[in-house]
């Protein structure tokens, strides 16, 4: 019996070894040289994936931070603030993302962007106390421009998700809270928003997927995300276009599918007991 354990250990070790360190020649031998080419450049593509993921997260974050208050202002605001938010949203939603991105990259001065970010951070610190964050100054300009473009465009759409969700909450909820003496702001914060956020998840799922896929548009301003890097590769070996594109399609699919599943889980986790979500 004693000898069994080392044998299985040895087997798993060999298997793991083989799977993790499959030689490039082996891949080429079984799948042809174009797949071997993809496999050889896996690390290059993986870093592209990382940039795609980070760009998605920063864009969604910017979109949420700007879009959520914008949605609330559209739902409950009045006067100039509401008119401004509404018009700015219409403008952003009516402009192609590629145009927005080229604008943020070639036209918008970086000092303005960093200044705005600095101002936003200081405002947050003023409201919530000191934060350990500082505005990063060493971020590549293309990444910053892509984040601003995707983030603003996403804010314009996320604002509509939240506005719709807030509007779908029964007016009686507001009246009930007001009837016990809660102020309008308190009611929005403690009664309307918690319910609206839950109802936003399906729309948010959609938006997350769209932003993730649209990070590929940063290709146009030369940001080395997944599509740009695949382009770098298949211009090197033009016979491998199909293989490269198939491979990154798979990566995009895994990312969107994983995101949707995660948000499904979040949705179920925070569902109101007794209500169908």
């Amino acid at each position: 019996m004693d000898s069994v354990v080392p044998v299985t250990e040895l087997l798993t070790a060999i298997l793991a070894e083989q799977l993790l360190f499959v030689g490039e020649e082996t891949v080429g031998h079984y799948f042809g040289e174009d797949w071997e080419f993809v496999y050889r450049n896996r690390e290059y593509l993986l870093w592209g994936t990382v940039i795609t993921i980070v760009l998605t997260l920063t864009s969604i974050l910017v979109g949420f931070l700007a879009g959520f208050p914008a949605g609330a202002i559209e739902a409950y605001g009045s006067g100039y603030s509401q008119a401004f938010v509404r018009k700015f949203g219409v403008l952003l939603r009516g402009t192609p993302i590629l145009v927005i991105m080229i604008f943020t990259y070639f036209v918008l001065p970086i000092e303005i962007v960093l200044g705005a970010a600095e101002f936003a951070l200081r405002s947050i610190e003023f409201l919530l106390g000191p934060t350990p964050f500082t505005v990063p100054t060493d971020v590549p300009e293309a990444f910053l421009a892509a984040t601003i473009a995707l983030g603003l465009r996403s804010a314009a759409y996320q604002s509509q998700i939240f506005r719709g969700a807030l509007g779908s909450i029964d007016e009686g909820q507001m009246e009930a809270a007001r009837s016990i003496g809660m102020s309008r702001l308190e009611t929005i914060r403690h009664v309307m928003v918690p319910q609206a956020l839950r109802r936003s998840v399906p729309g948010f799922q959609n938006e997350f997927t769209i932003v993730l896929k649209d990070t590929s548009i940063a290709f146009a301003i030369g940001l080395g995300e997944l599509l740009k890097r695949s382009h770098d590769l298949f211009t090197q070996q033009t016979t491998a276009v199909l293989e490269v594109i198939l491979f990154i399609s798979l990566l995009y699919f895994v990312l969107t599918f994983g995101t949707n599943r995660t948000l499904d889980y979040v949705s179920n986790r925070f569902a109101i007991p007794g209500e169908s979500s």
Binding site: Q173, I180, G181, M182
Partner: protein, 271 residues
């Protein structure tokens, strides 16, 4: 004002006159409604309503749909603003422009026809939210208060249930507990049972009867004639935005002086 005096003498005849110690001719109006007008566009919903509700009295508003009962109720806690006229709670002019509606509403509990429990909160948290945010109770204080209010409406065992897990009657009882927790001077009920099955109405009506017995001042819009007959100090019959007739239940049920009132009570008797 002469109307008022005749009502006062009638009042002495009432069996469950809560303040029998007070002198018979003295009224103790907690809620005074003076010449209240309200219209939506061209439609006049309230046309000069005058009403006084004494402390500890139960005023039941009845009338055909569209007669302005609910609007009247909503004007009292300013969920609807009056066009003209005044509403006083004790000495406070509720309708004055410089009166903070949030402060008024703390003193006036309201129970809604469509219940409107906060859907994302448990029964207990429905009650604690106002205590925490409006009254500034600590977490523990609010919890204790909420549990005792839920016990008062017979739902101590459902404190951790969410609205969607409760029956209609249970939900409405939580709604009552939520309003009671704020220690209101007066409770407004806007057709509290009309969204409920008959057998579920009973549990809500029982809770309301309990409040009557405790001497809570209440203004109730309802079609429940059992409650009107058994619980009301006075019934006010409204039609087309005006008070047609007002008096103790026996009078309106048995000997209404107006033809319009007689017709109304006749029609609901056959329901």
């Amino acid at each position: 004002m002469s109307d008022n005096r005749t009502e006062t003498t009638e009042r002495t005849d009432r069996e469950r006159s809560a303040d029998s110690s007070a002198s018979a001719t003295e009224t103790d109006p907690l809620l005074r409604i003076e010449d209240v007008w309200k219209s939506y566009g061209d439609e006049e919903v309230l046309r000069g309503i005058d009403l006084e509700v004494d402390r500890g009295d139960v005023e039941v508003l009845v009338g055909p749909s569209g007669s302005g009962k609910s609007t009247m109720l909503r004007c009292i806690n300013r969920l609807t603003e009056v066009d003209s006229g005044h509403i006083y709670l004790d000495d406070l002019d509720v309708t004055a422009a410089d009166t903070n509606p949030d402060a008024v509403r703390q003193q006036i509990g309201m129970v809604f026809q469509d219940i409107n429990l906060f859907a994302h909160l448990t029964a207990r948290k429905n009650v604690t939210l106002g205590l925490r945010k409006v009254r500034g109770f600590s977490k523990e204080q609010a919890r204790q208060r909420a549990d005792s209010e839920l016990e008062r409406v017979g739902l101590a065992d459902q404190a951790d249930s969410y609205p969607a897990q409760l029956s209609g009657g249970q939900k409405q009882r939580v709604g009552i507990a939520r309003a009671l927790a704020m220690d209101p001077e007066v409770m407004l009920f806007d057709e509290p049972t009309s969204a409920l099955d008959p057998e579920l109405s009973n549990e809500v009506l029982e809770v309301m009867q309990g409040l009557v017995a405790e001497g809570m001042t209440m203004v109730v819009v309802t079609h429940e004639m059992r409650f009107a007959r058994g619980g009301a100090s006075r019934i006010t019959f409204l039609a087309e935005g005006e008070i047609v007739e007002r008096g103790p239940p026996e009078q309106l049920f048995e000997n209404p002086t107006h033809e319009r009132t007689a017709q109304f009570f006749e029609s609901i008797r056959h329901d």
